[in-house]
């Protein structure tokens, strides 16, 4: 995974975890607020990701030496 998208999956995982903890655990107000604030920030970042532009399309070719060559796909 690319770092951005790894963190997208992680972002959502963490978000789920925060929500679960807020829902289930008997947290101190401090901790609850901190979790909540983190959750809101992660939610904002995740939402922002969903507005990114077009997919990049590349073409992968194998060269004689066995090296990979990646170029833009024009198909």
């Amino acid at each position: 995974m690319t770092p951005e998208q790894t963190s997208f999956a992680r972002q959502l995982e963490r978000l789920e975890e925060i929500v679960r903890r807020l829902e289930a655990e008997d947290l101190d107000l401090d901790d609850a607020l901190k979790l909540f604030e983190e959750g809101v920030e992660r939610l904002r970042q995740a939402r922002e990701r969903l507005t990114v532009a077009e997919a990049k399309v590349k073409q992968v070719l194998s060269e004689h030496a066995g090296k990979l060559r990646v170029e833009d796909f024009d198909g």
């Binding site: 995974m1 690319t2 951005e4 947290l27 107000l29 401090d30 990701r49 969903l50 997919a55 399309v57």
Partner: protein, 386 residues
């Protein structure tokens, strides 16, 4: 013959033919008298030689006919026939001079059995894959929920690649797509597909791969029924979606892959729809807010109980907390607890950001920070409340 031997003329030992002459002549007579023809019979004594040529006999109740099918002709077929199989062959009768044998050089071979050679080859390869555990359902890997890198192994010019690009762009446009072009039918297609599949393991941080092609005849799709290609699919280190032909087509690659829809459905299987993900985020947001309000209510209740035991001096502060908390609970849709500050509430916190909520946390002279709507104010407890 070029020197015009009279077939019935050599009546004396002096005029005897050589072996070569008679076999050559027999061949000439046979080839000119019996052109290429279709023959029907039962396969018997089948042997495939190292060279790739096939040798067998065609039999019926009264006779048998030796046949050879050369590699250049039989390689178009999905696989060899088996003994006992009823077939039609098209071939040229000839005499093999070096062995003095009458033979049929077979150019085409069709099985009259249901599914024919194709079915037979399919079942054979399937059994081999099964034996190696490659069809075990437990091998199937789940597809990633939020893929970032997707590779497509297919023809560069087919409709499939265009469909997949269009669908993934619509659903999950954050994807990096890698097209690995390959021949998908005809001579050399199996090799090409295997080579392309081998490249998948070399794309860093690849999440998922789609291999396939659009619809076509059974012959067109045949490369994806090759045992070799199926094994190459099984060896791909990331989850593979096999998308070959139409819904009714099931290839060996489909059986070995982690997931096998049609090419148009493959892109949907590989990606989430960003609208669904946005909706999921919305739900998480709602749960987040509810989770906090839930928490706040419990804390409020606890505060209420404490309130009874504390002197009136504490009530003002506690009341303020309670208001903050119930304001938080009331703002389910607002995704920041700090929104309540806009309504005139403030939040007392120490330098580390801990919320100050007990009298004991406000010794006279204690400095704290008061978070209000538009920022923070440095404050100090005067001790006047007691």
């Amino acid at each position: 013959m070029s020197h015009g031997l009279d077939l019935f003329g050599a009546a004396s030992p002096e005029g005897a033919w050589t072996v070569g002459e008679v076999t050559r002549q027999a061949r000439a007579v046979l080839e000119s008298g019996l052109g290429p023809l279709w023959v029907r019979g039962e396969v018997s004594g089948f042997k495939s030689w190292q060279s790739g040529h096939w040798y067998f006999a065609l039999r019926d109740r009264t006779a048998q006919l030796r046949c050879v099918m050369f590699q250049k002709d039989n390689r178009r077929l999905p696989g060899p026939p088996t003994d006992g199989m009823q077939v039609f062959v098209f071939g040229r009768p000839t005499v093999w001079e070096d062995k003095g044998e009458f033979r049929l050089t077979v150019i085409e071979l069709l099985s009259t059995e249901r599914g024919g050679l194709w079915q037979l080859a399919f079942e054979k390869a399937k059994a081999a894959l099964q034996k190696d555990g490659l069809l075990d359902p437990a091998r199937k890997r789940p597809l990633p929920l939020y893929p970032a890198r997707l590779a497509i192994v297919t023809s560069k010019d087919g409709a499939a690649v265009r469909d997949i690009i269009a669908v993934t762009r619509r659903r999950w446009p954050f994807l990096e797509l890698f097209v690995i072009p390959t021949k998908v039918q005809g001579d050399g297609a199996e090799d090409a597909i295997c080579r392309a599949l081998a490249l998948l393991g070399r794309i860093a941080r690849l999440d998922v791969a789609i291999v396939g092609r659009g619809g076509g005849s059974r012959e067109d799709l045949w490369s994806f029924n090759s045992e070799r290609v199926a094994r190459a699919v099984a060896a791909v280190p990331v989850p593979v979606i096999s998308a070959v032909g139409h819904e009714t087509d099931t290839t060996l690659c489909d059986l070995v892959a982690d997931h096998a829809p049609t090419p148009s459905a493959a892109a949907e299987a590989a990606t989430p729809d960003r609208r669904d993900v946005a909706a999921d985020l919305g739900q998480l947001g709602a749960r987040l807010a509810r989770g906090l309000s839930h928490r706040s209510e419990r804390v409020t209740q606890r505060l209420d109980r404490t309130l009874d035991r504390l002197g009136g001096a504490a009530s003002l502060l506690l009341e303020r907390h309670r208001h903050q908390l119930s304001a938080l609970s009331g703002r389910l849709d607002a995704l920041s607890p700090l929104k309540i500050l806009e309504r005139g509430y403030s939040l007392a916190r120490d330098a580390e950001g801990h919320v100050l909520k007990r009298i004991a946390q406000f010794p006279p002279g204690r400095a704290f920070r008061l978070r209000v709507r538009d920022g923070e104010v440095a404050a100090r407890a005067t001790g006047d409340e007691a």
